[in-house]
Symmetry: C2
Subunit: 499 residues, 2 copies
């Protein structure tokens, strides 16, 4: 290995060891930390953040990357080393444009902002959060201004989550999606509603927990390289490619929370566990983008976990675990877990309505960034858009504009990745079904090795080597495209609702 | 506050934030980390260790401490700031004497050494560990050589655990203790043995866990500032003075493991939780020394937890929890938990024999350091000394020279602190009983506020401001003294064994 490449890998290893350490501080904070430990934890996280930032923007790293340009040009452009130089250079050049002062101000504003948001949401009082969000939006506008060479300012934000994704492209994708999804929801609304009352009853929490573990063990989650803990807001995190942990939440009176949450997080974890060992401690072990990551979680949650063949295998086991489901036939259960109903809360939305929640947020974020809507007017705008898109109006801001944590953490440009992830998941799914013609039959038998193997080979092992559009193109032959998702939704819900 | 003192506190805060972070990495490693995460964790811990070492030995810190000498001289010598300068300077001057190369070599040797020790112990095969211990002893000898201005080389080692404690003093203390303890053990051996068979039977693990929690909750352990998890080798750790966690182990067929282990670790934790907030993030929040720390754990475990009045309060509750104890009277239970029997394993030893295990180790460590015994001869030496001291001989090295982890981690000079802790605990206990005349009656009623308050006031809040001998003198009026411990042992066991 070239000496300079070796130096680069050593620098990145240190940055990643610090990042993984910070991730553990954060995991502990959300799982086990006693309440009074929060202040000290804040100090520790701030220090680790500073140490990472210092290293990630150091002149030495910049010089090294400069020197590596020529070397990388002589390599196979898809080789690990060439991609390592490319991706690291890209991140470096972004990071050094942002003054340290801005990084510190943002860290402070979002720490205070998240506290204020929590209080505001619990009291359903937007005025508590408003001044903090105003400050955060000002800082986000400032951040965008450090990247003047973009088509529109929102591109600079989105790029942090979806490398090289353009706002106009996302808008075009969503424009292709929206009328068809609205049409489908209307058609469903004209049909008799399915019954899911049996999902809303007491389910023993330990048995739920154990059932979820059984499912993801069959998916191929490796307990030697991961674990599951409880957290109020489930997430997946990693401290190396051999320690990728999930968290889940168990609702005592509703089965879906644990069931689909566990499969969702497992989907993320299988991605992290599938990255090639050569990419560990390089910064490339984290996945291509948030959307590609979400395509994995949504695939296991929805395309596998909410499918009929999946439950042909697992439903008898679920009924054995929960005898209260004995009288509910499989078909009824399947319809129940796929019930479509326009609702207020994004994270509880079904597959047919979910993307509309995202489109609403995208429009509002662009308007905020461009100064076309004032923070004080957000609640009203939110409520009127909810009425337009989904025909529902929040009874209070806690179920409206205050429901998501993202803005309080300064994450503007993030939401679209959820919807893009849905689209990518079905694009991949169509391709997988071509490559593994008996996939449905395998799932019916509770077998997932071939599926996981395909994902490892085509997606996981590459880590962040490829940009999301590049990867999707490489694997499916086309860029991110809403058509497969629409085909999937239409077919699935036409059957369920007899449209 | 003086500007230079402020600078010092800022430097120390960063060092402590890194140290607390490393402690979390280690806590997780011993509680929840999936097995395959070990390699990455090793990298993370090594990095954090290096970052702490760099800062703790930086020329900037040295210069600052030089400048602070004059300022500190003008302050009350017992003030926080004066002590902060003194203690930090002491640590700095020790740390800079040790070349970084040596620190790295020791880190590597002990990482490999601990792995080898684990394998050697599990196979009861000293030869696996021998070359590693030889390397470690060579490094420890080298370490001691960096401190030539000591009376004997072992002083340099012990000083890392017991600031300013001299080998000759410890030897003198042990010389005063040994014959009396041996005499007592012989007297006990001449009497009919007490029955503790009822402690060796199945006890529901969850009920054990809950009972332990009930006890330490009454002790005053604050669950808002701590938590308890399971670990194979219980320990207490802290990530700030408001996050001090304990771990415990539950044996399914023996009550003592959980019972006294939980109280022991709680004793350590109450110390950490009682340090004055002004000392947080200074390096002075860690307690005066290992012996003083051990005096706290042993006090709650033995002087409180193995006392008759304690069980007058708790035994009815224990019987309620475990109906299998219904037929065992309190007096019999009390004798059972205080059974004296010379045995092989230090951590399972009773109060009367425990210190002899320590004396044996001290003699062997000094002989190793001074090159008077070769590593290859350790097993035989161990076994013959066990016969001399306790009249028992290990059937294999796993129950002999391989039983403790300390040497594999390079911790030579550590063991004495356990015995010193026992002595200090009783010295303090005599003083506390003078200051709180109805303490016994309070314990009989399950009340511990006055005891904990006394410890906070006299011991805990000072953190590491005072050296151990200085603190013991300050609180009890004399230096570390074996007499109170001997009085205590003699009285307690004369009653139990009718001597």
């Amino acid at each position: 290995m070239d000496e300079k490449i070796k130096q680069l890998r050593e620098s990145l290893a240190e940055i990643m060891d610090l990042s993984f350490t910070a991730a553990l501080l954060s995991w502990d904070q959300q799982t086990y930390m006693p309440p009074a430990g929060a202040e000290a934890r804040g100090n520790q996280l701030a220090l680790l953040g500073r140490l990472v930032h210092e290293r990630a923007t150091s002149p030495e790293l910049g010089k090294l990357l400069d020197e590596l340009k020529a070397i990388a040009a002589s390599l196979d452009p898809d080789s690990d080393d060439a991609r390592l130089v490319k991706v690291t250079t890209r991140g470096y050049e972004k990071a050094v444009r942002v003054p340290t002062k801005h990084v510190m101000e943002m860290a402070q504003a979002t720490t205070l902002g998240q506290q204020a948001w929590m209080e505001a949401r619990s009291k359903s009082d937007f005025s508590i959060f408003r001044p903090h969000l105003e400050k955060i939006i000002t800082l986000v506008q400032e951040y965008a201004s450090y990247f003047p060479n973009v088509e529109c300012p929102y591109d600079a934000l989105m790029d942090d989550f979806e490398p090289n994704m353009k706002t106009t492209d996302v808008k075009a994708i969503f424009d292709g999606l929206r009328p068809k999804q609205v049409e489908l929801i209307k058609a469903i609304a004209g049909k008799p509603q399915v019954d899911d009352s049996f999902l809303h009853q007491p389910f023993d929490e330990q048995k739920q927990w154990d059932f979820g573990k059984e499912v993801i063990t069959r998916f191929g989650y490796d307990w030697n390289r991961g674990r599951q803990d409880k957290a109020p807001h489930p997430f997946t995190t990693e401290f190396g490619i051999n320690d990728v942990r999930i968290t889940t939440r168990v609702a005592p009176n509703f089965l879906n929370t644990m069931l689909f949450g566990t499969m969702h997080e497992c989907g993320h974890a299988l991605y992290g566990l599938g990255v090639a060992p050569e990419l560990e401690r390089t910064g490339l072990e984290g996945g291509a983008s948030l959307a590609v990551h979400e395509s994995q979680s949504r695939m296991w949650e929805n395309l596998v976990g909410r499918s009929f063949p999946f439950w042909q295998y697992f439903y008898p086991r679920l009924q054995e675990t929960f005898p209260q489901l004995a009288g509910i036939p499989l078909e009824k259960f399947y319809k129940g877990i796929n019930k479509v109903q326009p609702s207020l809360i994004r994270v509880e939305a079904d597959e047919a309505t979910y993307n509309l929640h995202i489109m609403l947020r995208l429009e509002m974020e662009i308007a905020m960034l461009e100064g076309k809507v004032a923070v004080k007017d957000l609640p009203d705008l939110w409520n009127s858009k909810m009425q337009d898109y989904l025909g529902v109006t929040p009874p209070g801001d806690d179920k409206g504009v205050l429901q998501d944590i993202h803005w309080s953490g300064g994450s503007i440009g993030y939401f679209s990745t959820y919807a893009l992830g849905n689209l990518i998941s079905v694009q991949l799914w169509e391709k997988i079904n071509q490559d593994i013609p008996d996939l449905v039959e395998q799932i019916r038998q509770g077998k997932f090795e071939a599926l996981l193997g395909w994902l490892h080979e085509k997606i996981h092992r590459h880590g962040a080597k490829f940009e999301p559009q590049e990867l999707v193109q490489k694997v499916t032959g086309s860029k991110i495209d809403p058509a497969p998702y629409l085909r999937y939704l239409t077919k699935k819900y036409s059957e369920i609702y007899n449209i």
